[in-house]
């Protein structure tokens, strides 16, 4: 749905805007290269922001209430609701204005970045926003492309260049792009100036991997037409690597670039717990509730969210020491959503993994080695046990000690030879590209022999290859580069040049690749590398059995294994191979089959060298986190742009897929019907085999087919799979998957985690977007709702913070209902006794201050500090998360309970006071009478006390602050009322309350009545609580018991003076106390990262999961 309205299906671009002279063209209008992520301008800020704000149900509702109060004569003044509304609107507007200003700034930075454009025969420096479609842009090494460009030429003769699209799709390998041969020769500005060409291409679309067009080049009055594909398109956001400079012509600019089209517009996210939506259902049949949603609820909720979100940033457990990053909260609106997540969508690269592969172990000739600090250490018994445990080869990287190696015993040199061959195979059999880090102008060729391995930067389409080549370099056999025909390897400081004869490329059917090289000695070798299942059967020599055992051991450790083998080729053999390869490669028919045949012919009778084990380094505790998420009843989907094989192996190693899982595949579906058939088949298989867990692997193309026509079927399959892995996903596809889940009938709450720019759209699409502050820039973190440094922090974020916030906000909302039902019902009941004349029961000052002063702080503090369960119990028992899933605390049942409680309390206040007054008898010892205001004040006093004590009953975590605000609120009410009633207020027109409160308190009966009513109100609630805990304790209540015997006494919590300290300490020390530094015994971190993360009581956990599944 991104297609902007265009007149035609194609756009015609005249390179360098050299339009045809004959005028036979219709000029097309293109937008400029400005990127706009901001929402407002100076001019439209006020109206647009107001419009946006009043689109929120809550604001609109209060506006209406305010207007009603303005227009008709109501008991309360319009200021009561007008002022807070004004306050809320202003604060929100300022906040949004500031955020938009920041966005403007970053836009300006991007749009104002300097670029070089070829104009009128010279290179002109201009700003990025000035690039127009058709401009020829020059990009230097390591620069980011400012628009979508068609490559014209590079500094290389063949017109190729390398780019990395890490920030677009998360792939870190170098991609090669090539220019059309006719333009590739135009390497200077002057020569480009002579180019007359037209590009015709499709209109902008969001798919990163699709591009179709053609270039019509006019040379010597002759038109040459060349097709253009994705290989000649350089995307905005990608980075030029390994190439000095390129020239390209801008074809899509600004908001029409593929990157911009892949961004979802930043819209205001709203919490699904959004109270008012929930309320509006009730509004329909309960007009009474009009009174019950005071704006103070809204203000309190906003404050709770804003202040509460600080705790996430403050949390040391979410602080990553290595990178010195703490968690960031960008949207405080969604805190409680963290407690409601049902689906987690996570990116793979950089989110689950560290985004770095590490060579770990290898098995050479039947002996296992481990790499420790750049040295190979053998593991277990070796053939010669005399020095088997000693690390050898440790000195290899150092030339100074290599002499000792030459004098080593005979047997060892033999071994070294094996190693030599093994690592040569590793460093030759690959498709790694190299990019040297330029060192102070010494030159940028990769050919310098004095280049240390650390200065080489390898780029590989497969991170495994990169890790292997790097490992070989550490061991001492350094791959320094390749040109067209040769590969250079530095062995122990000695440069060796191998002639690269053939590459038998990797494909997923063969699952291996091989190279044929000619050694400096003239010998010809075939080196093969591949999965053990494809190499071992073809081996005839080497320690096949031992290696097979080792490979299995590696795999069990979650390492990614590859086997290496070689074969010496005689010249006769090579001739045959060469001939057959040539034939196959040039065959016009059935080329693929023929090639496969030849490859099969070549890659046999190999001699096994050994196996490698590479660790795709998962982030810390990813496995545990995913496990915990699953225990919490959250479905985890991995969405990645990566290849199918890599994705599956990472999925396996991070525990997303289990080895016991039945893995279903929906990949490489080409047609609609085929896809549907496959889906039906999968659905059948799931039905047949419902005992075993299923995992589903889908790739991007199949997914788009499945989503187009067979959404229902696909969702059906997905829901029955306990793990889903989507690979080869374009950024927008990730977002589409999330939207699909979001709008499915259950309307689950989704959470997306990602670290790269390619994850931005999914982060924005999901209800909750989490950015990982990783290596690939901060784009994801900026666009997320919460940014954390590591994936593992998710468990604390969800299970502890999310749980707390949810409980807090749920209680906050319901308590607010309750207390306002208590507040308004007596007022309503009073109407029956005053001819429905809208006489207020309470004085207008009380009416205004009830929600603002008397009852606001305890609930606010509760909603900030409450911990109904100890945080590390929550984290170690993820199943507790199920207790709050599906918005359970805000269900109709609990809501009804609170409402009924409110009504019953209100009846007790009102009728208690009513019967106390009886036939209006005197309550004073001197026979004098109370009036209506005293009656109202009596009800009000009982109400303030009851409502506050009810909050105290709900509070489970009593810090000194809770004590202060709870008892302080009641005391404040009394002090205020005494003060308010003690003076004739000169500016008030009515003195209704003069001495009313004091008179009330001078009545013994009133005191007895207050005590009676408060106790009666709370009695039923206490009974209910005690019975529930005794008869049907929830998991939460059970978990509370775990910590119950831990022991801060009530008095301890109120004051945290350590012993022997005087109360009159300085103000600074008092402040320290306020933040809780005072009592070191309590402050010491009771648990740390070294604690067992998940406790051993799995039995309980699994039991409870079974419980929940049966019911």
């Amino acid at each position: 749905g991104f297609d902007p309205p265009h007149q035609s299906d194609t756009r015609t671009i005249y390179i360098a805007n050299r339009f045809p002279q004959n005028g036979l063209y219709t000029p097309q209008k293109f937008i400029d290269n400005r990127i706009i992520s901001s929402k407002y301008t100076v001019w439209n800020f006020v109206p647009k922001n107001l419009f946006e704000q009043f689109r929120r149900v809550a604001n609109f509702y209060f506006l209406i209430i305010f207007l009603v109060q303005l227009m008709i004569d109501t008991p309360t003044s319009p200021i009561t609701s007008g002022l807070p509304l004004f306050f809320v609107i202003t604060v929100t507007a300022i906040k949004q204005g500031y955020e938009d200003w920041l966005r403007h700034n970053s836009d300006n930075e991007v749009n104002g970045a300097p670029v070089y454009v070829v104009r009128s025969g010279g290179l002109v420096k201009t700003r990025s926003k000035n690039i127009r479609v058709g401009d020829i842009v020059r990009i230097a090494k390591d620069e980011i492309f400012p628009a979508d460009l068609v490559l014209l030429s590079s500094d290389r003769l063949d017109g190729s260049c390398h780019v990395t699209t890490a920030s677009l799709d998360g792939e870190t390998n170098l991609k090669t792009h090539v220019a059309v041969p006719e333009t590739a020769v135009l390497q200077t500005v002057a020569s480009l100036d002579t180019l007359i060409a037209v590009i015709e291409c499709q209109q902008p679309e969001a798919d990163l991997y699709r591009f179709m067009g053609r270039m019509i080049i006019t040379q010597q009055m002759e038109e040459i037409v060349r097709p253009l594909g994705p290989e000649s398109l350089l995307l905005r956001g990608a980075r030029l690597k390994n190439t000095k400079e390129i020239f390209g012509v801008a074809i899509y600019t600004g908001m029409e670039t593929k990157m911009a089209l892949n961004y979802k517009s930043k819209s205001q996210k709203r919490s699904a717990v959004e109270i008012l939506r929930f309320i509006s259902d009730f509004l329909a049949f309960l007009v009474l509730y009009n009174f019950i949603i005071p704006i103070s609820l809204y203000v309190t909720v906003e404050m709770q969210k804003f202040l509460g979100s600080f705790f996430i940033g403050w949390d040391l457990d979410l602080y990553h020491e290595e990178s010195d990053q703490k968690a960031q909260v960008n949207t405080s609106d969604l805190n409680e959503e963290l407690g409601q997540v049902e689906y987690v969508f996570t990116d793979k690269t950089g989110t689950l993994t560290e985004n770095e592969m590490q060579f770990r172990e290898c098995s050479i000739n039947g002996i296992k080695y481990q790499e420790i600090n750049g040295r190979l250490v053998s593991e277990g018994p070796t053939p010669d046990s005399s020095d088997g445990n000693l690390p050898y080869l440790n000195s290899l990287p150092h030339l100074t000690t290599s002499s000792s190696f030459r004098t080593s015993p005979e047997s060892e040199t033999e071994l070294i030879k094996e190693h030599d061959l093994f690592f040569k195979a590793v460093s030759l059999c690959h498709t790694v590209q190299i990019s040297s880090v330029q060192t102070d102008g010494i030159g940028d060729g990769p050919w310098q022999s004095n280049l240390a391995p650390s200065q080489l930067e390898y780029y590989a389409s497969s991170p495994d290859e990169k890790a292997l080549v790097e490992a070989a370099a550490r061991i001492g056999i350094v791959f320094i580069g390749n040109s067209e025909e040769t590969m250079e390897v530095k062995t122990l400081g000695k440069l060796e040049r191998y002639k690269l004869l053939h590459i038998l490329e990797f494909d997923s059917d063969r699952r291996r690749m091989s190279v044929i090289v000619q050694a400096p000695s003239g010998e010809k070798f075939l080196f093969a590398k591949g999965a053990e299942s494809s190499i071992l059967p073809n081996c005839v020599g080497g320690e096949i059995e031992k290696t097979r055992i080792h490979v299995d051991e590696f795999a069990l450790k979650g390492l990614r294994t590859l086997c290496m083998a070689y074969k010496r080729l005689t010249s006769k053999e090579y001739e045959a191979i060469n001939r057959r390869l040539f034939e196959a490669r040039t065959a016009l028919q059935q080329r693929e089959e023929k090639l496969a045949d030849v490859f099969h012919f070549i890659e046999k009778d190999l001699i096994l060298l050994g196996a490698t084990a590479v660790e795709d380094r998962l982030q810390d505790r990813v496995r545990e986190t995913i496990e915990a998420l699953r225990m919490a009843g959250i479905k985890v989907w991995v969405l990645t742009g990566d290849k199918h094989e890599t994705a599956v192996s990472v999925s396996l190693s991070c525990g997303h897929f289990h080895r016991t899982m039945n893995i279903l595949e929906l990949i490489n579906q080409k047609s609609d019907s085929q896809c549907a058939e496959q889906l039906r088949q999968l659905a059948r298989r799931i039905k047949e085999d419902h005992v075993i867990q299923h995992g589903l692997v889908v790739d991007g193309t199949s997914l788009s087919l499945a989503l187009r026509e067979h959404e229902k079927l696909f969702m059906e399959v997905c829901r029955n799979c306990s793990a889903v892995l989507c690979c080869r996903m374009a950024p927008l596809q990730k977002a589409k998957v999330i939207r699909l889940i979001k709008i499915s009938p259950e309307k689950p709450i989704t959470l997306a985690v990602g670290d790269g720019a390619n994850d931005v759209s999914m982060i924005q699409e999901a209800h909750v977007g989490i950015g990982i502050m990783g290596k690939e820039g901060r784009q994801a973190a900026r666009n997320s709702d919460y940014a954390i440094a590591r994936f593992k922090f998710l468990s604390k974020l969800l299970f502890v913070h999310g749980h707390f916030y949810y409980i807090r906000i749920a209680t906050l909302v319901q308590y607010f209902f309750y207390k306002n039902v208590c507040f308004i019902t007596p007022q309503f009941l009073y109407q029956f006794y005053c001819l429905f004349s809208q006489q207020t029961l309470y004085d207008s000052v009380y009416l205004t201050l009830y929600n603002i002063c008397f009852t606001s702080l305890p609930i606010l503090i509760y909603s900030l500090l409450e911990q109904h369960i100890d945080p590390h119990v929550l984290q170690s028992k993820p199943t507790l998360y199920r207790d709050i899933s599906k918005n359970r605390q805000l269900s109709i049942k609990t809501f009804l309970y609170w409402t009924i409680l409110g009504f019953s309390h209100a009846f007790i206040f009102f009728y208690g006071s009513y019967f106390l007054i009886g036939k209006d008898i005197s309550l004073l010892g001197n026979g004098q009478m109370f009036g209506n205001w005293t009656f109202g004040t009596l009800v009000f006093t009982v109400m303030v006390i009851t409502v506050t004590v009810k909050m105290a009953l709900e509070t489970h975590f009593w810090t000194w602050i809770n004590h202060l605000v709870t008892w302080g609120s009641i005391i404040f009410y009394f002090v205020f009322s005494l003060f308010y009633g003690g003076i004739l207020w000169p500016f008030l027109s009515s003195q209704n309350m003069y001495f009313v409160f004091i008179q009330l308190l001078s009545s013994g009966s009133a005191w007895f009545a207050i005590i009676l009513m408060v106790v009666t109100c709370l009695l039923l609630d206490i009974v209910k609580k005690v019975f529930e805990r005794q008869l049907h304790p929830t998991n939460t209540e059970k978990a509370q018991l775990i910590k119950a015997n831990s022991s801060v006494k009530c008095l301890d919590s109120m004051c945290c003076f350590s012993e022997g300290e005087t109360a009159c300490a300085s103000f600074g020390r008092m402040l320290e106390r306020v933040v809780g530094r005072c009592s070191p015994t309590h402050v010491s971190r009771s648990w740390s990262a070294s604690d067992p993360f998940y406790t051993n009581d799995r039995s309980i956990l699994t039991l409870s999961t079974m419980d929940s599944s049966t019911c």
């Binding site: 911990q867 008898i921 026979g927 013994g1004 009676l1012 809780g1076």
Partner: protein
Amino acid sequence: MTWSATARGAHQPDNTAFTQQRLPAWQPLLSASIALPLFFCAGLAFIGLGLGLFYSSNGIKELEYDYTGNPGTGNCSVCALADQGRAPPIRCSCAWYFSLPELFPGPVYLYYELTNFYQNNRRYGVSRDDSQLSGLPSALRHPANECAPYQRRATGLPIAPCGAIANSLFNDTFSLWHQRRPGEPYVEVPLERTGIAWWTDCHVKFRNPPLVNGSLALAFRGTAPPPNWHRPVYELSPDPNNTGFINQDFVVWMRTAALPTFRKLYARIRQGNYSAGLPRGAYRVNITYNYPVRAFGGHKRIVFSNISWMGGKNPFLGIAYLVVGSLCILMGFVMLVVYIRYQDQNDEEEDEE
């Protein structure tokens, strides 16, 4: 962990109990073992209190008489009939005779009670001007708009005191006569007409306007009494300390009642021979019947009551305490049963494990 404090990064959050949500906290659990003793104690205490309150209330005597004058209910019906004709009430008098077989212990308070009279109607309740009543001269001449339609007379004179409440001032009067023995003449029992309003009301909140030439009447010159009044406000009582706005009958009336049935204190009887109460004998209450109530279906009553420290006779509080106290005990027992039964079950479950 100590080293990390010195080597920490610039963005490391503070390790304080507050920021880490680890403030020392008391975490009470509302369990049966705590609730049980609480319930029993509270229950017993409430029952004790309830008994005390109940007996205290039972010791209070009340004597009341409905003098509305519905046909056939005594001699006030004559006056009531006159009232029905909607004519301005003539100074009709009637009397209520009663006898006390024994001493009515004192101090005795005389109340009048009106029913079906909505002093708590909002439009009625706001119809007053507190600044006028506080004696502000400017407010005296310019009553607040809330007083309308009793803000100004048709002649344009401002009404003092303005508003509907003042206009509807209760204007029946009572006098009490005592006959010690049959045949003896009735002696008037002195009714103390002060001390019936809140002290702060008639000493602080309500003030007369500053006297003009030492005369209250002159101070009220240029104002008119409310339409229903037969005499101006400064003639409410001959006692100069109890007239004008600070007349206690007026002040009592201006404290609007909460409910449509209400009593207002008329007088206290505590002088002379009557300080210990009303001795036995025959009594007559002379009533000047001015106030029309039958038009709105109201009733007028006269009530004699004595007072304890907790006010008038109202058994509600005592009964409520008894009920709640017994409920507490009952709940306590139920809880005890449940607690013991489920405790056993829990133990068994644990044993099984």
